[in-house]
């Protein structure tokens, strides 16, 4: 008997027993789809995060954040701490503090809830973000706790529409602020915040007039040359511990992010995609193989008379076993292809949703198909041997 005929017969059988075929295939479809999605998603996300990271955090940057204690956001990071850091580390070219509050901005009848960030006159240099119109914050703004504001371009659009926002007055909590500039577009940051919909005010204004606190949320440091970064970070840590009077063995009440650490974090996050999730997919496929083997075995039992008959009309043991193997193989092959198509579809939807390009990973597609084929063969061997060994007389009774 020719293989082509066996294959055609298997396809016919799959079609005739649609429910059984469907049950056998779901596991493989899902497993392969998951494999394709996570491989491509992981790769796309990694590239995306790395790109974003580069935009917000380059090789000369150190970030000092307070994070959270058990009682909520920490309030221990002060401007004086950073001044002490700067004094101890001449390699620090500039540093910029930041304190954030959510406020509602108003221009005439337009109200818009928005994240307001306090920054210093060094923000432009440290964050590498200038203005497309007007000017950035300067030292006198900060010194005077001036009521001036920079708008992200989206915020400007929302509040002003077609009007020119420059030198207009917006209100934050009923207090008027003069718009002095429009921030350069920046996209969304690694935290997922839309950095084009925000307002910047002088840090002093934020601390005294808006938040009325004496601490900041975080500060970004810029070192003159990348090679000093890790060394500077060590000294920054020492100075901050001293400033905060932390005893030996006591945990830091702040976090330091250096380029090396960020790289490690991204790699660790990526490990979930590159290692653990494929493991999940592999388990899904293994389960699928077991399910298929079970259903095939049940099908063999259900088809005992068919096996007996095939033998009676001249099928050899090998042909019977090949038929069942081919059926399992075809089911999984087709399911594997369906899984790839499903995976690509899901990937396209996710990619569009999060607005991140996710190039289809060719290895993922190849891997998915290979996995499906292996599952098919594994799941088929046992039932097919079972079928082939059946005694025709007993099978026909």
């Amino acid at each position: 008997m020719k293989n082509g005929k066996v294959m055609a017969g298997s396809i016919r059988m799959m079609w005739r027993y649609k429910l059984r075929t469907f049950l056998m295939s779901i596991g493989v479809v899902v497993g392969v789809a998951v494999l394709v999605v996570i491989r491509s998603y992981g790769a796309g996300m990694e590239a995306n995060i790395m790109n974003k990271m580069k935009q917000f955090f380059d090789a000369t940057n150190i970030m000092v954040t307070t994070g959270f204690s058990a009682d909520g956001p920490r309030t221990t990071l002060k401007l004086e701490d950073l001044e002490a850091v700067q004094a101890a580390c001449p390699e620090i070219e500039a540093w910029d503090p930041s304190l954030m509050r959510r406020k509602t901005a108003q221009y005439r009848s337009e109200y818009h809830p928005v994240l307001v960030r306090g920054h210093s006159e060094h923000a432009e240099l440290v964050w590498e973000r200038g203005v497309t119109g007007g000017r950035s914050l300067d030292a006198s703004d900060v010194k005077a706790s001036a009521r001036v504001a920079l708008l992200g371009y989206k915020t400007a659009d929302i509040l002003f529409g077609d009007d020119d926002p420059l030198d207009q007055s917006i209100q934050l909590d009923g207090v008027p602020y003069r718009v002095i500039g429009i921030l350069e577009p920046k996209g969304s940051d690694p935290h997922g915040e839309d950095r084009d919909d925000e307002i910047h005010v002088p840090i002093s204004t934020m601390m005294r007039r808006i938040a009325n606190v004496d601490y900041i949320n975080f500060a970004k440091l810029r070192v003159t040359e990348a090679k000093y970064v890790e060394d500077v970070a060590e000294r920054v840590e020492a100075v901050l511990r001293q400033q905060h009077a932390l005893a030996d063995g006591e945990d830091n009440d702040f976090s330091l992010f250096t380029p090396m650490l960020i790289k490690k974090m991204v790699a660790r996050a990526n490990k979930v995609f590159s290692l653990y999730l494929p493991l999940v997919a592999a388990i899904a496929l293994l389960v699928a193989a077991i399910v298929i083997a079970n259903i095939m075995l049940m099908a063999v039992k259900e088809r005992i008379p068919e096996i007996g008959l095939r033998k009676a009309v001249g099928a050899t043991d090998g042909q019977v076993s090949r038929q069942f193997l081919m059926e399992a193989f075809m089911v999984t092959l087709v399911s594997g292809l369906a899984g790839i198509v499903l995976g690509l579809g899901v990937l396209a939807v996710i990619s569009a949703r999060v607005d991140v390009p996710m190039p289809v990973s060719a290895t993922a597609v190849g891997l998915g198909l290979a996995a499906a084929v292996v599952v098919g063969i594994l799941a088929g061997i046992w039932p097919s041997r079972h079928a082939a060994r059946m005694d025709p007389v007993a099978a026909l009774r």
Partner: protein, 229 residues
């Protein structure tokens, strides 16, 4: 055509005495013979038929099929002989469900590595008078029609012998008579046919009647078989 000498078959089950189903059966069937096998239930008719059809092996004895000793052939060779030389008809029809009459009849050809499979299957279906039912599935056919499909399947590879184990056992009298008429026609066109039946009237239509009784095969019926009245 068929020569059997001293065919024995017995079953042994743990804790039970050995059951001798066939006790040294001798049998000669000439080409073109039309033979009925009768006998009480459990006497070993089907067991003999399965051995003649190479589905089962005897424990001892010699079996020559067309002059060739077949008792000790390997599995694959037996499969090929079943495919080319023997056509089976069963009481339960054994058609593949959800599969058209035509595809059912094609089955032996699929394993025979021949061409024109569909044409030959269609011819066989015409031969049994089912030219109008080729695309029907078994569920869409009457019992008599299903058995005709099964006979077409037995015929399609042009075998020398047709073995039928109670081919009319699941059919009403009228369809049964139709099937018998078909067998008779096939026999008249030269085919060797052996069939098992419990119906004395049907057995009487065969040229030769063998009686199986507790594993012993005899030429004449010892007494009229109590078939369906």
């Amino acid at each position: 055509m068929i020569e059997c000498r001293g065919i024995c078959k017995s079953y042994e089950r743990p804790g039970e005495p050995r059951l001798d189903v066939l006790k040294s059966v001798d049998l000669n069937i000439e080409p073109g013979e039309f033979t009925a096998v009768v006998g009480p239930s459990g006497s070993g008719k089907s067991t003999l038929m399965n051995i003649l059809g190479l589905l089962d092996r005897p424990d001892s004895g010699n079996y020559l099929l067309g002059g060739e000793p077949v008792s000790n052939l390997p599995h694959a060779r037996l499969a090929s002989l079943r495919n080319k030389k023997i056509g089976f008809v069963f009481q339960q029809f054994h058609l593949l469900p959800r599969t058209t009459a035509l595809e059912n009849v094609e089955l032996p050809l699929v394993y025979a590595d021949t061409d024109n499979i569909s044409d030959r299957a269609a011819q066989a279906l015409c031969r049994v008078g089912l030219q109008d039912r080729m695309t029907h599935t078994p569920a869409e056919l009457s019992g008599g029609q299903q058995q005709r499909v099964a006979i077409a399947r037995a015929l399609v590879n042009d075998p020398e012998i047709i073995l039928a184990d109670e081919p009319t056992g699941n059919l009403d009298r009228e369809s049964g008579a139709g099937i018998m008429a078909l067998f008779q026609e096939l026999n008249e066109s030269g085919r060797t046919i052996i069939f098992i039946t419990h119906d004395a009237a049907l057995a009487a239509r065969a040229g030769r009647v063998l009686t199986m009784n507790e594993g012993i095969l005899a030429e004449e019926p010892a007494q009229p078989v109590g078939g369906v009245a």
